[in-house]
Each structure stands twice: as structure tokens, then as C-alpha cells.
């Protein structure tokens, strides 16, 4: 069986607590390795997903642990897709500028790094709002 024939669709649902980040990482690592990514690429996908979920916990749910995070993983036509949805407050990705580390250092700012990393580590990062109550971030890596 070739890699492209091995289509998958899996879901993990967790509460919006930082203690669940480890569980999300294990889930993503296992599936990205199973579909054929090398260890280095799988680790990049894991980190990007961690950053997306950390942002949801921090910004959409403001550290409330009662929210829901859905992590949907699918592989279709060599596109490994991680769609993460939440029902917290809407997050305007366009309002976050690319970080300038020197400026950050001077201004003691530490936010915005996660989104920058996600864009660097993945082939595509797409923010959307499927319903008025749901936010979605989709991370895509091409299986070459």
C-alpha cells in the first residue's frame, strides 16, 4: 500500500486545560508517524499543534479549563490536515503582527511567538469561523 492510499480520519476531544497538551502531542505524533512523516517533520507538526492549542487555551478560553478543544486529523491526497476547533472567544489572527525578537526583548513582550512558529513549521495555516460560535485553525503539511 502506498502512502497516498492510506487515508485516515481521527478525532481527539479534550478540555481546555494545559495539562492536556501532552495528550494532544502524543495523539498527533502517533498519527503523523503512522502516515509516513520522518521524526523531524512529525516533531514540527506536534509543536505547531501544541502552539495552536496553547493559543486557544490562553486567548479563546482565557485559561478556563471547562472549554472544549477538538483536534481532527485527516489525510487526503497527500495533505495531512489538523483541524482544531474551539467554542471560545473569536481570535483575530490578522491582528497579530509577526514578532520582532529585538522589539520583544526591549518591550518585554512574549506573545505572538506561537503563531509565528506555526507558520514557519507548517505548509499552510488557515483561520476560519465555521459558525458564529466556533473558531477553527487548520494546519496542513504535505506528505512528499
Amino acid at each position: 500500500m502506498t502512502k497516498t492510499e492510506k487515508n485516515i480520519r481521527k478525532r481527539l476531544t479534550v478540555k481546555s486545560s494545559t495539562k492536556n497538551l501532552a495528550k494532544i502531542r502524543t495523539f498527533v505524533k502517533k498519527l503523523s508517524t503512522e502516515v509516513g512523516f520522518d521524526d523531524e517533520t512529525a516533531n514540527k507538526i506536534v509543536l505547531a499543534t501544541d502552539e495552536a492549542c496553547t493559543n486557544i487555551i490562553k486567548h479563546a478560553y482565557k485559561y478556563s479549563q471547562t472549554g472544549i478543544i477538538n483536534v481532527n486529523i485527516s489525510l487526503l491526497s497527500d495533505k495531512f490536515r489538523i483541524a482544531i476547533t474551539d467554542e471560545g472567544s473569536h481570535f483575530n489572527s490578522n491582528a497579530v503582527p509577526e514578532p520582532d525578537l529585538k522589539k520583544y526583548y526591549e518591550e518585554k513582550r512574549v506573545g505572538g511567538l506561537g503563531m509565528f512558529l506555526m507558520k514557519k513549521l507548517m505548509d499552510e495555516v488557515i483561520y476560519s469561523q465555521p459558525t458564529s460560535k466556533k473558531n477553527k485553525v487548520t494546519l496542513i503539511k504535505y506528505l512528499k
Binding site: 495539562k19 501544541d50 496553547t54 514578532p99 525578537l101 529585538k102 526583548y105 512574549v110
Partner: protein, 116 residues
């Protein structure tokens, strides 16, 4: 099993923090506590040894950004050593080598402090 652990010991006036395991948004507060306790003790010369660190996310990187200025304002610094390639790559992606010193061996980082 502890996900993350930070050990601390002193070499003369220099404090070594040994970070182990997984440093993410859940475990970053433990590292913040370690830095707060160094500041309380007026220990501003810090070497962070990453030899046993398996994973870091931006929440962990943010801790170093939040504390480095206090250390530098007090004649100290945070210097890094022992990073595995994949951990270093994350620091590199974010431009850390422009603002922080990285060393292979702990001894090199200590020597750099001792040279003044």
C-alpha cells in the same frame, strides 16, 4: 512520571539550571518559579543546561525572554548550553542566537561568565 523538572546548583557565583523533560504551557510556571527564586536570592548569573530537555514550545521560550532583562540589568545574564539540534532549531527559528549566547558545553558558558 514527572513531565518536567528543573534542578538547580551553584558553581561559585553562577547558578546552573538543569531543565529536564517537556517544557510547555503547562510546565513553564515551574521554570518561572525557579527564576523567581534566583532573583530573590540575587543570583543573576544563570546557565541553563538543556542536555535532558526533550521538548520546548514558545511558552517555555517566553520564560527566558521574560527574565533575561532583569538578569542583565543586575550584571548577569542567561546563557544556554547543551541543546539538542531539534531544540536549538526552535530557538534559531525565533532569532534567539542574536540576543543570547549558546554553548555546547556547560563549562564554556561558566568560563564566559568568569572571564567577566
Amino acid at each position: 512520571m514527572a513531565e518536567f523538572d528543573v534542578g538547580k546548583h551553584g558553581v561559585g557565583p553562577i547558578s546552573i539550571l538543569n531543565v529536564k523533560g517537556y517544557l510547555d504551557a503547562h510546565t513553564a510556571p515551574e521554570l518561572e518559579n525557579a527564576f523567581n527564586s534566583l532573583i530573590n536570592d540575587k543570583q543573576y548569573k544563570v546557565v541553563v543546561n538543556f542536555r535532558d530537555l526533550k521538548y520546548i514550545s514558545s511558552a517555555g521560550l517566553g520564560v527566558f525572554m521574560a527574565y533575561v532583562e532583569t538578569m542583565r540589568e543586575n550584571n548577569g545574564d542567561i546563557k544556554f548550553c547543551g541543546l539538542k539540534d531539534d531544540v536549538f532549531n526552535i530557538f534559531d527559528l525565533l532569532g534567539f542566537p542574536l540576543l543570547y549566547e549558546f554553548y555546547k558545553e556547560e563549562k564554556e558558558a561558566i568560563d564566559k561568565f568568569n572571564q567577566g
